[in-house]
Amino acid sequence: MRIALFLTCLVDAVVPAAGRATVEVLERLGHEVVFPPGQTCCGQMHVNTGYPAEALPLVRRHVETFEPYEVVVAPSGSCVGSVRHQHAALARAAGDAELAARAAAVAARTYELSELLVDVLGLTDVGASYPHRVTYHPTCHSLRLLRVGDRPLRLLRAVRGLDLVELPGAEECCGFGGTFAVKNADTSTAMLADKMRAVLDTRAEVCAAGDSSCLLHIGGGLSRLRTGVRTVHLAEILASREGVA
C-alpha cells in the first residue's frame, strides 16, 4: 500500500525519532511510504489557543498537501483528532464550503498509527521485539476524540519480550494540553505530578504513548526529577527488532 506520512510539526521539529520509526515499521511490513514535503502543521495549536483566522491557511495547506493520497498516517492521536474534528468545521465557520468538503474527504482517509495498523492493515503483530517493562499512557485525544480504545495495547501485547504493566488512572489527563502547559503552568504541573507518581508506581522502565506532545511533558517531568524512567513513542517500540533496543 502507498501511505503518505503526516509527520506533525512537533515530531518534525523536536522528536524525529517517532517519524523515522513510523516509516521503518510500515516499510518493514512491505508498504511504500511517501513524505509529502509541502506539509508543515495541521493548525491545532492555533485553533486551540483561539486563533482560527491564523489556522485557516494551515488547514488549506494541509488539505492541498494530502489530498492526492489514498491513505495518510500520523504518529499522533491529537493531530489526527484535529484533522478529523476541526478542519472541516473551521472551513465551514469561515464560509468556505468547498474547503470544508475537501477537508472532510482528507480526514476520512487519515489515520492515527494504531488505527492504520489494526483497522486498515489488519495487524496486531508487527514483528517487533522490545524486552522491557513498559506502561502505556493512552492520551486524551486518542482516547476521547479518536476512540482508539485498546488498539495500542493489542499492538504492544504482540511485541516479543515486552512486559506490559497497567498504568493506574491511565485515562486521566497528564496535564499537557498544548498551550495549557504554559498558560496554566501550576495546574499543569500538579496534574503531571500525579501522572508521574502513577508511572513510577508501575516500576516500568519505559512510559509509552502515541502522542509525542504528552510524552514531551511527562518525559520532561521525569527527566527533571532524574527518575531514570524513559518516555518512548509507540512507533519506536513497534519499530524495534531483536538486539536493537
Binding site: 524525529p16 508543515t40 489557543t49 502547559a181 501550576d186 514531551l216
Partner: protein, 497 residues
C-alpha cells in the same frame, strides 16, 4: 460594567467573575489540604457515578433524549415561557420577569418586605447565588438562612461555595466541627459543646439549628431544577428534606429560576429524573423530589423568571447548548483541572468545566478572558455530561472571542507565518536546532525565557536532534517527491520545499 452587545447581558457580574484563573489556581494548587479534600471527594463521587451509570443499558439513548428535549425547549423558549406563565397564573401564582440581577433582587426584596418578615429560609438555588440575593437582602435588613447542609457550612464559614452539588467539598469534617462550634450560637441555636466530628453528630447539630429556622420563618426562597411549561409545575430535587421543609412550611414561597430550566411537558421530566441523580450524587433515584403547581391553599406563591445574560447565550448557535445544563456537576467531578484547583479558582458561582463555558458567556467573554483556558481540553467533561454538552469545542470557540495578550498574539502570528510555507518552516527548524546550544548536561534544556519559562519551571525539554527528519529522509530515501504529485483533485502546487 459590560459593553452592550445587542442583546441583554448581566449588568452585575460580581458573582460571575473573579481573579484571573491562573493566579487563583496557583494559590489553590499550593494548598495540600485543599488538594487532598478535593481529590478524595471527587474520586469517591466519580466511582459512584460510573457504577450507577454503568447499570443503565440505554444510558446513551437517555442522554440523547435529554439533549434533544433541552434543545427543543431552547428553540421554543419564548412560547414555552408564556405557556408557563399562563399555567402558573391560572393556578394562583404570580409570575415576575427579571432582566438582570438588579431587577431580580429588587423584586424579591419587595416581596419579602411586603410580608413584614426580616428573615427568610432558603433551599439551595444557584440562580440566587448568581444574582447575589443574600447580599441584597442583607443590605435591606433581611437575614437569609441557607438550609442545605453544605450551604449552611459555607454560610457559617463566611465562605463561598466551591462545587455545584457539594458546595463545602473543600472542607473536611474537622474544619466543619470548628465552624459549627464557633458560629452557630451567634445566629441561632448553638452547637452542643461536646460536638464531635462524626458525620451523625455534625448532621444532628445542623438539624437542631435548622429546625428552629424552619419553624419560625414566614418566607421561603427556593430555586427550581425544572419547570413544566404545560402544567406550571415547579420541581426541586434534593437529598436532605430541607427543601421540602422550605417549600411547605412558610406561608410565602418565592422561587427564582433561570429561564432555561424549562421542559415542555410532565412526561419530559421522566428523562431528567433518571439522568440527574445518577450523574450528580451517583444515586439511582433522588431522595426528595418536590413538585408544586401554582399556589397551595393558604400559600402565597411567586415565581421570578431570570434572564441575566441567558438570552445573549441563546443568540450564539455555538454556545447555546451550555443552557442545556441541569447542574448535575458530573463535569466537575471528572475534571482534572477542577480536582487540583477547586471551585473558588474559577471566580464564579459556576465552577468547573461548565462554569468555564457558562460564566464567560453570561458576562461576555471579554470580562472572563482566562476561564476558557482553564482546561487541558482532555474531553472527560463531554463524556460524562448527561445532556451531551460539547464543552471542549465550546471552550475553543470562546478562546477565539477573548482578547489575547499582545506578546502571545505576536508569537502565534509568527508561528503561523513560519508554518505558512515549507521553505520558511525548514528555516525555522534550522534555527531551532541552534537550540542545541541551550542544551545542558545529558542533552536536556533546563531553562527557557518567558513565556516558555512556564514549561521549564517543572519540565526539561529535549535538545533538538542533530539530524532532523527531513535530512534523514533525504539521506535514506533520496530527494523528496515533487511537493504536489499530479493532481488527483484541485491541489494547485503549494510551494516547493
Amino acid at each position: 460594567m459590560s459593553t452592550f452587545l445587542g442583546l441583554p447581558r448581566a449588568v452585575d457580574t460580581s458573582q460571575l467573575r473573579g481573579r484571573p484563573f491562573p493566579e487563583a489556581a496557583r494559590a489553590a494548587v499550593a494548598d495540600p489540604q485543599l488538594r487532598r479534600n478535593l481529590g478524595d471527594a471527587t474520586a469517591t463521587i466519580r466511582a459512584k457515578r460510573a457504577r450507577v451509570v454503568g447499570e443503565v443499558p440505554d444510558w446513551e439513548s437517555l442522554r440523547a433524549a435529554g439533549a434533544a428535549i433541552k434543545d427543543h425547549t431552547l428553540a421554543n423558549l419564548d412560547s414555552l415561557l408564556l405557556q408557563l406563565e399562563a399555567a402558573v397564573t391560572a393556578r394562583g401564582g404570580t409570575v415576575h420577569w427579571a432582566r438582570d440581577s438588579a431587577e431580580a433582587n429588587r423584586i424579591v426584596t419587595e416581596l419579602v418586605r411586603a410580608t413584614g418578615a426580616d428573615e427568610v429560609v432558603k433551599v439551595k438555588s444557584m440562580a440566587t447565588q448568581e444574582i447575589g440575593l443574600n447580599e441584597a437582602l442583607e443590605a435591606a435588613g433581611i437575614a437569609a438562612w441557607e438550609t442545605d447542609l453544605a450551604e449552611l457550612i459555607v454560610q457559617l464559614g463566611h465562605d463561598k461555595p466551591s462545587h455545584i452539588l457539594v458546595p463545602a467539598i473543600h472542607r473536611n469534617r474537622a474544619e466543619i466541627r470548628e465552624i459549627f462550634l464557633r458560629e452557630m450560637g451567634a445566629v441561632g441555636l448553638p452547637a452542643p459543646a461536646d460536638l464531635t466530628d462524626s458525620p451523625p453528630a455534625l448532621a444532628e447539630a445542623a438539624r437542631r439549628h435548622l429546625r428552629q429556622k424552619f419553624l419560625s420563618a414566614r418566607v421561603a426562597i427556593s430555586g427550581a431544577n425544572f419547570a413544566v411549561a404545560a402544567t406550571g409545575t415547579l420541581s426541586v430535587v434534593e437529598s436532605e428534606g430541607n427543601g421540602r421543609m422550605c417549600l411547605t412550611l412558610p406561608p410565602t414561597l418565592i422561587t427564582v429560576m433561570g429561564i432555561e430550566k424549562l421542559v415542555p411537558t410532565w412526561q419530559d421530566l421522566e428523562v431528567f429524573l433518571q439522568l440527574l441523580p445518577r450523574s450528580s450524587t451517583g444515586e439511582r433515584m433522588n431522595p426528595y423530589t418536590s413538585m408544586w403547581s401554582g399556589a397551595v391553599e393558604g400559600q402565597d406563591f411567586h415565581l421570578v423568571l431570570l434572564d441575566n445574560g441567558r438570552t445573549a447565550v441563546l443568540g450564539d448557535p455555538s454556545g447555546r447548548s451550555a443552557l442545556r445544563c441541569i447542574r448535575c456537576s458530573a463535569c466537575l467531578n471528572v475534571c482534572p483541572v477542577y480536582e487540583r484547583t477547586g471551585g473558588h479558582a474559577y471566580g464564579s458561582v459556576y465552577p468547573g468545566p461548565i462554569g468555564a463555558v457558562l460564566s464567560p458567556q453570561l458576562t461576555g467573554p471579554e470580562l472572563n478572558a482566562t476561564l476558557p483556558y482553564a482546561s487541558s481540553l482532555c474531553g472527560a467533561c463531554y463524556d460524562v455530561c448527561p445532556v451531551a454538552i460539547d464543552i471542549p469545542t465550546m471552550l475553543v470557540h470562546l478562546r477565539a472571542q477573548v482578547p489575547h495578550p499582545a506578546p502571545e498574539r505576536a508569537v502565534m502570528r509568527a508561528a503561523a507565518y513560519a508554518m505558512g510555507s515549507p521553505r520558511r518552516w525548514a528555516a525555522t527548524r534550522s534555527a531551532s536546532r541552534a537550540g542545541r546550544l541551550l542544551g545542558g548536561r545529558r542533552g536536556r534544556i533546563r531553562s527557557l525565557p518567558p513565556p516558555l519559562s512556564g514549561w521549564t519551571a517543572s519540565r526539561d525539554l529535549p535538545v533538538p536532534p542533530a539530524e532532523g527528519f527531513r535530512d534523514w529522509w533525504t539521506r535514506t530515501h533520496g530527494s523528496p517527491p515533487p511537493a504536489t504529485p499530479p493532481p488527483a483533485a484541485g491541489g494547485d502546487g503549494a510551494g516547493a520545499a
